[in-house]
Each structure stands twice: as C-alpha cells, then as structure tokens.
C-alpha cells in the first residue's frame, strides 16, 4: 500500500513539474506568443474569436499570474486543452490529437514493445551461449547500431528501399491517399506497407540496447549459485535458462524499459518527421514550427504522462515479479 502511495506521489509530482515547465517556458522566453498569435490571425478571425483563443490558451492579461497558473493547471488536467492556433486554426486540440494518436500508438507503441521483447530474447540466448562465436560478434555490432542517429538510419532505408528501388516501399505518409480509409484489405495493406520503413528504423536503432543490457544481465546472473543449483536439481535446460536465469536477469531491464521511453519519443519525433508520418511526433514538430502553443503544451504533457504511466506499470510489474521489492517498501 505504501509502495502504491509513493509511486502515485511521484507520478503527480513529475506531472506537476512538467506542467509547470510548460506554463512558464512560453511566458519567460523571448518571443511573445500573444503577438505571434495576433500576427498569425490578422484578418482571419474576429477580435472576439481571438480573445476566446487567447483565454483558452491561458493568456488573460487582466488576471495575475497565480490565477492564470491555477486555471491552466485545472484546464490541462480536465482535458480543456483549448484550440489550435497553428495550421488547423481554431480546431480543438483534442480533435487534432485524437486523429494523430492512433498512428503513433500503432507504429511506435507496437515497434517499441516488439524491439524490447525481441531484444530481450536475443540477449537471453546470447548470454546463455556466452563465449560462442555469435557472442563475439553481437556486442560490438549492437554497440554500433544503438549509437546510430535515428534520422540517418531512416534516410539510409529510404535511399535503399525507396529511391534506388523505384519505390519498392513507400517513404512518405501513413497510407496511400488514393484509398478510402476503412477496414478493407487494400487499405490495411497500404497502412502496413507504409509502416515498414519507419518501424524498421525504430527497431534497428533501439533493439541493440536491449540485446546488450539483457546479455550483460544474463551473464551476471549465470554466475549465480541458484542457476547452478537449477542444473544440480536436474531441471530441463529450458527451465534453468528461463525460469532461473532469465527470470532474474530480466528484472533490472523492466525499469530500464520505462526510463528509455523518453528516448523512444525522441526517435518518434525524428522518424515521423522524416517519413511525414502524421503521428504525435510529427504533430509536435509542426506545432513547434507554427508556434502553436496550445498544441505544443498538450503534446508535451501527454508525452510526460506516457512515460509516467510506463514507469508506473513497470514499477508494479517489478513489484509483482520480485518479492524482495515488495518486502522493502
């Protein structure tokens, strides 16, 4: 119980810190967003609409900063995220995000979990066969791939599988725009086709880290007495490898997974930008380009919440898998 309370407290604290950053950055940085908005909307919307937009963004010049801050916190937490002042002028932020979210969840979410699962599995095998020929090649190879810039891998893949091969695989957008979205085989096929290169980029750049950490954890764990004890008991090799060695070696990786999500998000922004993939990352890029503060701050909050939820889930999973953690709290 205490454990849950502590984690919940940390969740709220971090969320608050992120929201506060969000509130003060535009107000204390050079470049006045209010004027930017006025310039942008000149001649496009009426003065009344402009006022409404400004207040939805939290800028109420006649109120003091404290009240503005509290209002802002309330609005962010209750989903009153305001209207976009960027490309989709006047459109509710919730709508814009609602359109982009499934694409990012589908592409980045699935690929990240896949990279984690696959990397962990390869790491288990590499660690188990320590000293083999494979183990001599894998570590340096994946040290290299995990240090490659996301966007460069993306560019290389586009060059190889799209430019040089006359569009073997699409390098742009999330589906063929000539198709009508729906649950038709043609549309789903197009979506999958468009996901291959961005997913491959994310997989190539993120799997190495998981393989290396899992291999290293595995090697450390294999030296433990309880692994030898598993063999001594005459357990089948599989049982020793997964139930005794990997089961323990995996635990530190869980918290690492949550922490790495921040990097995954940075990868998502760059990858979605390169592939013009209309997900949240691309949305953040265009929000920044168009000085769309309401969209920007909502996205930043959502990214923070995503990482925090992952941290929370991994924490709970660790507590569930490791009785010692439960005992400590």
């Amino acid at each position: 119980m205490k454990h849950v309370l502590r984690r919940g407290g940390f969740f709220l604290l971090t969320l608050w810190a992120a929201l506060t950053l969000n509130f003060f950055i535009p107000r204390f940085m050079p470049g006045d967003p209010v004027n930017a908005l006025r310039d942008r909307t000149r001649g496009k919307v009426s003065e009344a609409t402009l006022q409404q937009m400004l207040s939805s963004f939290g800028f109420k010049p006649n109120q003091n900063l404290g009240t503005q801050y509290l209002d802002y916190l309330g609005n962010m937490l209750t989903g009153h995220w305001g209207l976009s002042i960027g490309q989709a002028l006047g459109e509710p932020v919730t709508t814009i995000i609602g359109q982009a979210l499934p694409w990012t969840l589908g592409l980045v979410g699935i690929t990240t979990v896949l990279a984690f699962a696959l990397g962990t599995l390869i790491g288990i095998v590499a660690g188990w066969r320590r000293g083999g020929r494979l183990d001599a090649i894998l570590p340096p190879l994946f040290v290299v791939t995990s240090a490659l810039p996301y966007f460069w891998v993306a560019l290389l893949l586009i060059l190889m599988f799209s430019v040089w091969t006359n569009g073997l695989l699409p390098s742009d957008f999330n589906y063929d725009t000539s198709l009508v979205p729906g649950f038709s085989p043609g549309f789903i096929g197009s979506v999958l086709q468009h996901a291959v290169l961005p997913a491959a980029t994310l997989l190539i750049t993120s799997i190495g880290g998981w393989i290396l950490t899992m291999r290293n954890n595995m090697i450390t764990t294999l030296a433990e007495d309880y692994v030898r004890m598993g063999r001594a008991k005459g357990l089948p090799t599989r049982k020793v490898m997964y139930g005794y060695a990997a089961r323990n070696a995996f635990l530190p990786n869980l918290s690492g997974f949550a922490m790495s999500l921040g990097f995954v998000i940075s990868g998502a922004i760059l990858i979605e930008y390169v592939f013009n993939y209309p997900g949240l990352g691309y949305l953040l890029y265009s929000a920044v380009q168009n000085v769309d503060y309401p969209l920007m701050q909502t996205l930043f909050m959502l990214f923070t919440v995503a990482v925090l939820v992952a941290v929370l889930i991994c924490d709970l999973a660790t507590a569930w898998l490791d009785p010692r953690v439960r005992a400590k709290e």
């Binding site: 940390f10 604290l13 971090t14 810190a17 950055i25 535009p26 940085m29 050079p30 470049g31 320590r130 000293g131 183990d135 001599a136 570590p139 340096p140 040290v143 290299v144 240090a147 490659l148 810039p149 966007f151 460069w152 290389l156 060059l159 430019v163 290293n216 090697i219 294999l222 030296a223 007495d225 309880y226 030898r228 004890m229 063999r231 001594a232 008991k233 005459g234 357990l235 089948p236 049982k239 139930g243 005794y244 089961r247 323990n248 635990l251 999500l261 940075s266 922004i269 760059l270 953040l284 920044v288 920007m296 930043f300 990214f303 990482v307 925090l308 898998l321 009785p323 010692r324 005992a327």
Partner: protein, 684 residues
C-alpha cells in the same frame, strides 16, 4: 602439458590501480577503435584547412548536384557547395557540442549526485527527487520546444539545453556509487584523521569514481551529439552555421535523396554516426573493464577452451569405452536406467557408492589451461561421511562440482572417471545426468541465500525439483515438501516464504530439506555451514549427522575448517593445489597427520575441548594453479622442506601399519624414512 609450459613466464596479479586500468583500456579493441575515430575528428577540427583546398565551405560557388569526382570528392550540394569541404568544416562544431555539453552535464551529475549522497537526509531526498523528475520528463520534446522558444542560431542556447536535459541519468549513478563508497574503510580513516568533508570528497571520493565519471562523460557526449544533430536536422539550429546537422537540414529541405544528391545527406549523417559510435564504443569498453565477465572471450582463450573441450570429450569417450568393455549390466549408451544400476550395486554390496579415479579438471584462461584438480582418487562407501578439507583456492569446490558434473565453461573435466552406483558420470550426457540428479545424488551449496532462487517461494523450488523427476499429484508434492521441511525442523508454513524472509540458519536447513526430497544415496555438500555463526554451525552439523544416520545417505563434505569435520566425518581427504595430499580415517589423520600441510591446517584451528595451544597457521598462500611449483607443490611453504622436494614430484604413498592412510610427501618414502619421522616429530 605443452600449453602449461608456454605460461611458465611471470604471471603478474591483476592490479586495480590506475596504471593497470589504463593499460587494460589500451588492450581493449573497442576502446582503441573509438579513440582512433575520435582522434581523427579532433585533428580535422583543429586544422580543417589542411584537409581541403576550398576555403569557404558555405559559399555557393559550384554547379549544384555534381556527382563525386576528383575535384569534388563527395560531389556538391543542391545549393552548389562542396560536400567534402562542408564535412571538414562541420567537424568542429559537432565536436565542441559533444565535449562541452558532455563536460558540463557530467559536472552537474557529479555535483548533484555526490552532494545527495554526502549530505544525506532531507537534502538527499530532495536532490534525488529532482533527479528522478528530470530523468522521467521526456527530454527531446522539451529540447525541441526550448530550442524553438530560445530562437534560432545560438550555440550557447543549444549547449545549455543539452546540459539541462542530459545530467539526470549520470546523477543517479553518481549518487549510487558515492553512497556505496561512503562507509568504506579509507573514507572512515580520513574522517577519523579529522579531514574536512570537502577535502574527503575531492581527494578521496572523486578519484575512486574516475572510471564512472569518464564513462558518464562519454555517455553524455554521445547523447549531445545525437540530440544536437537531430535538432539541427529538424531546422532548430542556426541554418547558416557550419555543422553536420545544418548540412542535414538543408539536404532534407532540398529533398537531396529524391533529387539525385544522396551523399548530401548520407555523408554528414555518417559523420554524426561515426562520432556517436566512437563515444559509444569507448563507453562500452569502460563497462567491460569495470565488469570483466562481460568481455568477449578472446580468440586465444577460445582456442584454449576448444583444446580443453576436446580433451574433455576424449575423456568422456574413453570413459564410455571402458564402461562398455567392463561387464556392467548398466548400458551407458542406451537410456539411463537407475533401477538397473541399483540392482547392480545391490548385487555387489562391497563396491563403493562413488569411486573417483584420476579426476582432472582444467580451466581455460587466456594464459593457457590451468589444472585446478589433478588426478584425484577417492572412494565413498554407502552411508559414509567423507570430509574434504583444504584452504580456499585448493580446488576442493571444483572437485565437488566435477563429481556432480556441474562444471561450466571455462572449467571442464579433462580426464578420469566418476563411477557412481556402477555407472561412469563422466561418460554421460546432460540428459542422462538429469535422470540421476537429485533422485540419486543431490547438492547443498555454501550459501543458501545465493543458491535459492530469490524470486520464487521455497515451495515452488521444491516443486520444480519434484516435477523434474517424478509424476506426483500436487497433493503428493505438498505432502512430500511438508515432510522434508519437518525433517529439518522448519514449520511447513515456510513453503510459502521467499528465501529472503528466512533467517540464515533456516535457509540453510531449507536447502538441506530440498536435497532430501528424494532421499538420495549421496549428498554433496560445499561448505554448507560456513555462512553461519559458530553456534548455528554446530547445531546444523549435528542435525546433518542425525539425518544421515536416520536416512542412511552418504555425504561428501567440503570445508576449510578441519576441526568442524573432526567429530562428524568417517574419513578425511586433505587437498592442496589441486591434489590430494593426504587421505585416511579421520581419527588417524587427526591424531597423527602425516603431511606437513595437514599438520599446518590442524594447527590453524583451535580445538574446542582440547588444551590451549598456540595457533600457527601456514605462512604464504596456495600457488597459482596455472603455474604450480616444480617438485612438491607445497615445498615453498613447507616448514620441513628438503632439497629434493624442489625437484622431485611426490606420489601418494601408503603409510601406517594397515596402509589405510595415504600421503603425498617425499619425507615419508622408505629410502629416507628415519629423517622423515624425525623432522615431523620435531615439529609436533
């Protein structure tokens, strides 16, 4: 043996000092590759003019989109600049970003991490909380937003943003290491000397954290290189600056890939990748150096391993051939049949339960093979308690695991046989062994804390063992588990307990209970009491002995404490440097130790009931098994050493009237017997 001769050269012990560390770093291929790449970039960034004849990298002075030629090594950009020249001039900024941002992020990490650890209390809570919050807030979106607000162009702003978002990971690690250092002896002594806290931190703590600090710098530099390039690629840097990221931005902006100038974006991307890889390789090399287990097995070591493995399989094959030749009813080639084996040994009640002959174990190291167990013979009869004693590092635990067939690389059995209930274990495959394991012989290890799986309950671990060998219903499993726990005096409610919830003594008992699940014929025990205090030790020993008498299993018991086994074992084997140096009935060996080493071991422990005597111990330490001394292996430490001991290798000689004691000492040989007994008497 040729392998061993090759390693006869001096073998310095690994040192943890700085010099050794840097030397090791030089020997690491990843570190070398990383440094070479970095060095090349440093030279280029310092003297860009030396590498290209074009003076202004950004001037639009050539035809656009030229292919590679001698004039333009990598062609020209879509705007008419020489790509190669831009790369050369872009090096400096990327390097500056990496080094400066990496440096300040590391300084911040050290400052906050070490302060948190040393200030403790509320300050620690506060700083750790700030660190964790900073760690979780996704940095890159924040950078993107910050970079936009801060306006285009300023390198300083970019650096500040990278430092602000890049310190938290390191701070957590610094805090953890500083905390673990806090109570070390050398800091304690500095505190006792009355040194100021700041002095201690700067001159005592930080130097010991050097490798972590350097690793952190490399990590932060890698992060900065990639993030900065990503930002510039997105167009959030100064579009007029000379950097790889800016090149990438313009290339993307002008659709370089699609318009036939792929090198425009691929080449600067490659440079970013190379610089990143350089930092990553060095960083990983540091990880390997601080945890040598992670290092790849070197080609040379792999060769030695292969040679050792070949010897091992030859030994197994030879053992199998022998087994086939002997008229044994057990068929080693076919499926294992424990019942047959039982029948066989029942037919010949005088045959020992376990017969070890010429057992040899070698470790493959980079320096060559090292013989940890050399041609050991021993017998264990049914229901017998055999003690194996010797100092740490004499090969006794290795011997045990070789008998149990539980060695793993780089150690393997390279000769001899282990005949258990009439069947040679050395010739058996892992699958065949799994049938015998736990049913017929089980193992108890030194520390149950380490030997029990920490994340599973005692009951679950019992269940694993039972399920591997018997087709029990869950009711039967429960019943048997309760039985064995009650046997060792533990409340069966602890089947639901995890290892960490039990006391040290209870854990050890639980492990013994687990070893008795199938009431095996032999229980192999590796110092099962040495993790306990003296009182718990005695009571556990008494219990083991009682169980043994009750259930009739035989025990091989390894310990370094000779007095511990004196009361409980029937026979004793004394090991030194991988060899048996004395073996015989416990009482005889105790009363009249024949080997000087046995004497030394006995003198090293006080007798609880005996008279007070001065403890002598044995000066020196056991030899390096990769390079054992010539002649008698004990001669450098022997108090009664003679000249011939230095050259002549002693065998195990039968001594005493009944010849039931065997000892490996030249002084006991008949041609020099008077002298031998005299010198031993002088010492006793």
């Amino acid at each position: 043996m040729t392998v061993l001769q090759g390693t006869a050269a001096a073998t310095p012990r690994p040192r943890r000092s700085g010099g050794g560390f840097w030397r090791a770093l030089r020997g690491n291929r990843k570190a070398m590759a990383g440094s070479v790449i970095l060095l090349i970039f440093v030279v280029i960034s310092a003297f860009p003019g030396l590498f290209t004849s074009v003076h202004d990298p950004n001037a639009l002075q050539f035809p656009p989109r030229l292919g590679p030629s001698t004039g333009h090594l990598l062609g020209t950009t879509g705007l008419g600049q020489d790509i190669y020249t831009q790369l050369i001039y872009g090096t400096r900024q990327s390097l500056i970003i990496a080094v400066v941002a990496g440096f300040f992020a590391t300084v911040l990490s050290v400052l906050i991490g070490v302060s948190a650890a040393y200030l403790g209390g509320i300050m620690d809570d506060l700083l750790s909380m700030v660190t964790n919050v900073a760690l979780v807030i996704p940095a890159f979106p924040l950078i993107v937003i910050l970079a936009k607000y801060a306006g285009h162009g300023s390198l300083t702003v970019l650096l500040v943003v990278l430092v602000v978002t890049g310190w938290a990971y390191g701070a957590n690690q610094m805090r953890a290491q500083a905390l673990s250092l806090r109570n070390r002896d050398f800091l304690e002594s500095a505190r006792v000397r009355g040194e100021r806290r700041s002095y201690i931190i700067v001159f005592e703590v930080l130097p010991t954290m050097t490798s972590l600090i350097v690793a952190n710098f490399l990590g932060a530099a890698l992060y900065s290189v990639l993030s900065a390039a990503g930002l510039q690629f997105l167009g959030l840097g100064d579009p007029n600056s000379s950097s790889w990221g800016t090149m990438l931005y313009w290339a993307q902006n002008q659709q370089a890939l699609q318009t036939g100038a792929p090198l425009w974006s691929i080449a600067p991307g490659l440079c970013v990748a190379l610089l990143g890889v350089a930092f990553a390789l060095m960083n990983y090399a540091f990880d390997e150096l601080s945890n040598p287990a992670l290092r790849p097995v070197k080609a040379k070591e792999r060769k030695v391993r292969a040679a050792v493995a070949a010897k091992a399989s030859a030994a197994a094959a030879a053992a199998e051939a022998r087994a086939e030749a002997s008229p044994s009813p057990a068929d080693p080639g076919g499926p294992p049949a424990p019942d047959l084996a039982d029948a066989e040994s029942a037919a010949d009640p005088d045959a020992p339960l376990l017969q070890v002959r010429g057992l040899t174990v070698e470790y493959a190291t980079a320096r060559g093979a090292s013989v940890a167990v050399a041609k050991v013979d021993l017998d264990v009869r049914r229901g017998e308690f055999l003690g194996v004693v010797g100092e740490s590092g004499c090969g006794k635990s290795t011997l045990l695991f070789a008998i149990a067939r539980l060695l793993s690389a780089p150690a393997s059995t390279t000769g001899g046989s282990v005949t258990f209930k009439g069947r040679n274990l050395v010739a058996m495959t892992e699958k065949q062994l799994n049938v015998l394991r736990w049913r017929d012989y089980s193992v108890v290890m030194q520390s149950a804390m380490n030997a029990l799986n920490p994340v599973r309950t005692i009951g679950a671990q019992f269940k694993d063992a039972i399920e591997a060998h018997a087709d029990y219903s869950s009711e039967q499993i429960k019943q048997r588990s309760v039985e064995v726990l009650e046997l060792v005096g533990i409340d069966p409610v602890h089947l639901k307990s995890y290892p960490h919830q039990l006391s040290g003594g209870m854990r050890q008992r639980a492990m013994i209970a687990m070893a008795l699940l199938f009431t095996p014929d032999l229980v192999i025990m590796d110092e099962p009491t040495s993790a306990l205090d003296v009182v718990a030790q005695r009571s556990l020993m008494v219990q083991i002995k009682e169980l043994q008498q009750l259930l009739g299993f035989a025990v091989i018991f390894v310990t370094h404490d000779m007095s511990l086994v004196s009361r409980f074992s029937d026979r004793l084997v004394v090991m030194y440097a991988g060899q048996v140096v004395e073996a015989g009935p416990t009482r005889t060996v105790f009363d009249t130790p024949a080997h000087p080493y046995s004497k030394g071991l006995l003198d090293a422990f006080p007798s609880i009931h005996g008279e007070r005597v001065e403890l002598k111990g044995i000066p020196g330490s056991p030899p390096d098994l990769g390079n054992p001394p010539a002649g008698c292996r004990f001669h450098p430490r022997c108090p009664v050493v003679q000249d011939r001991c230095r050259s002549q290798e002693p065998e195990l000689y039968r001594i005493g009237e009944a010849g039931e004691v065997r000892a490996r000492c030249l002084l006991l040989t008949s041609d020099d017997e008077p002298q031998a007994s005299r010198s031993l008497e002088v010492n006793s």
